[in-house]
Symmetry: C2
Subunit: 330 residues, 2 copies
Amino acid sequence: MKKGVVTIADVARHAGVSVSTVSYVLSGKRTISASTRARVHASIRALGFHPHAGARSLASNRSSVIALVLPLRQGMHLPVLMQFATAVVTSARSHHHDVLLVTADEGPAGLRRVAAGAMVDGLIVMDVEMDDPRVPTLRQLARPSVLIGLPADSAGLTCVDLDFHRAGAICVDHLADLGHREVALLGAPRVVYERDTGFAHRTRDGFLEAAARRGLVAFTEPCEEDAATVRATVDALLLKHPGLTGFVVHNEAAVAHVQAALPRDTSIVAICPDELAERFSPALSSVQIPAEELGRQAVDLLMTKLNGGEPASLTMLPPHLTVRASSGPH
Amino acid sequence: MKKGVVTIADVARHAGVSVSTVSYVLSGKRTISASTRARVHASIRALGFHPHAGARSLASNRSSVIALVLPLRQGMHLPVLMQFATAVVTSARSHHHDVLLVTADEGPAGLRRVAAGAMVDGLIVMDVEMDDPRVPTLRQLARPSVLIGLPADSAGLTCVDLDFHRAGAICVDHLADLGHREVALLGAPRVVYERDTGFAHRTRDGFLEAAARRGLVAFTEPCEEDAATVRATVDALLLKHPGLTGFVVHNEAAVAHVQAALPRDTSIVAICPDELAERFSPALSSVQIPAEELGRQAVDLLMTKLNGGEPASLTMLPPHLTVRASSGPH
DNA sequence: GGCGATTGTCGAAGCGCTTCGACAATGGTT
DNA sequence: AACCATTGTCGAAGCGCTTCGACAATCGCC
């Protein structure tokens, strides 16, 4: 009667080779003759050997696990989060890595725990804010990381995000192409701008630059998230600028209220998940949040770093506009 | 200049005790005097020591990680999945465990990989079907597991699920209380019944039993998921049974079409995520899918097993009906 | 046909931790 | 005053793997 678990020593004995030979067959780090390799593989299969992850990580100082740190807070659009997580897992698996799920509410301590304890080789941190308290921790950690979102100081970090600047711009271009001459951006709530959140400002800048380039009259307003305030904001805008016919909305929670508050013949373009845009009637023309692409890119970048590479510090994914029923010619 | 990582030996030296003493301070498995304990803790903090997870798992044969196996396929309601995952992580953390995210598309091999390789101490497998190929694998694995969903043969397993039987019943009770005399259940697509999927049958049985108990006339129909077929099904039902006034819908994808196809004065009760029920107008009275409760329970059960306990084989969560605008007196 | 390179394999030294048995120093009982 | 328990600590033996240096066997080349 054997012991419970099959070890590499059992495989070596069964195949009539040394333990190190088995290890080299597995890792491919030294040349092993084809016949030996075949014999070892046969023994592995015959015994049902699975290397002990802990032993491996202890000896090699690599765990083949990456951490995925997800925000827990309300307001995050759950489907997008899930799509992102799925993409990360799928992509990591294709690089022979597993994914440890960590929630952001553990804060910097959580990052330290999994990184310093050598549970993971690297981290992907989603939804990083401008002055995120985790950024300094990430910097001093000995393990590489990739951030989704753009902190204030990204020097020495690797970040991926949707190019909100261009996203704002292509919304304007779309409206301009349709013949609109006066356009407005309804963005995040005022507090979000005040705490200097990256994506809100980037969208606004892109929006304004494109409007200037296309010779449009442009206005931007923060946008609260309750129906009444939204209606008041929209009404005030329309009253003051009767020529306004095109709206860009960058606020998931408010977009429904905006659509309800606007006259039917105005055009709306949103920056929001496709899933959300399709739910409205008329369906919203929108720039999607490319969750899967973000996940894939983040993993690729992290793998590059794990292999000693030095990828670009900033990766900005190009925005894609899907035209639906909410925008039309003027 | 020290080496990169702080080890337990460094802590021992710094505190002037032996390595084993530090280990016992950490695990509490032997009594250590208060003064020594304090000294060790001070050294741990001073040096920023984090035990090496791999070394720990190798020596103790426990990884303090559990696997969460999530379905990837379309049709799963993403927000529910995410809520569930979040609950599992939060709950696992409160038991000092981490969570490894595995996707179901790896199949039985994925389970074997993480379990046999000692990456995880136990597994939570979501969305188990009646004849799930992973069930035999789970049975022969040396690690405990908890299933969400009910396979055909649950002997020797630990399963948690919503009590769909009672869910079907309370929908009927609700409609009966409102004065409806003829009710119909629109369930999963026909193929789902044919492949003997557990929850579909359980709901139907509960529905029929309750109807009999309350003396209602009851019909059940499978329900496809495209608008045209749904309308045809509904129209046929209403034509044949003009007295039908109450509908129970257990089909997330079809419920929108059902609502659109039914006359305004019929009552609808759905079995679906709250998030979905609230999105309709009028909002649907519904029995929610208790994602968070399922996650918490699953972790609790798994922890019980990891500690040598033997929890109940079947845990059926009681359904909760939220009355909204879609159901009214007849 | 002799010599350096290359190829294939082995043995052993760790990696950082847990845990077992040993044992000195106490304390409480007769 | 002699004894047995209890308490607190230590040393050492692994846990299963990777990796380094060593070395025998084979190869290619002048």
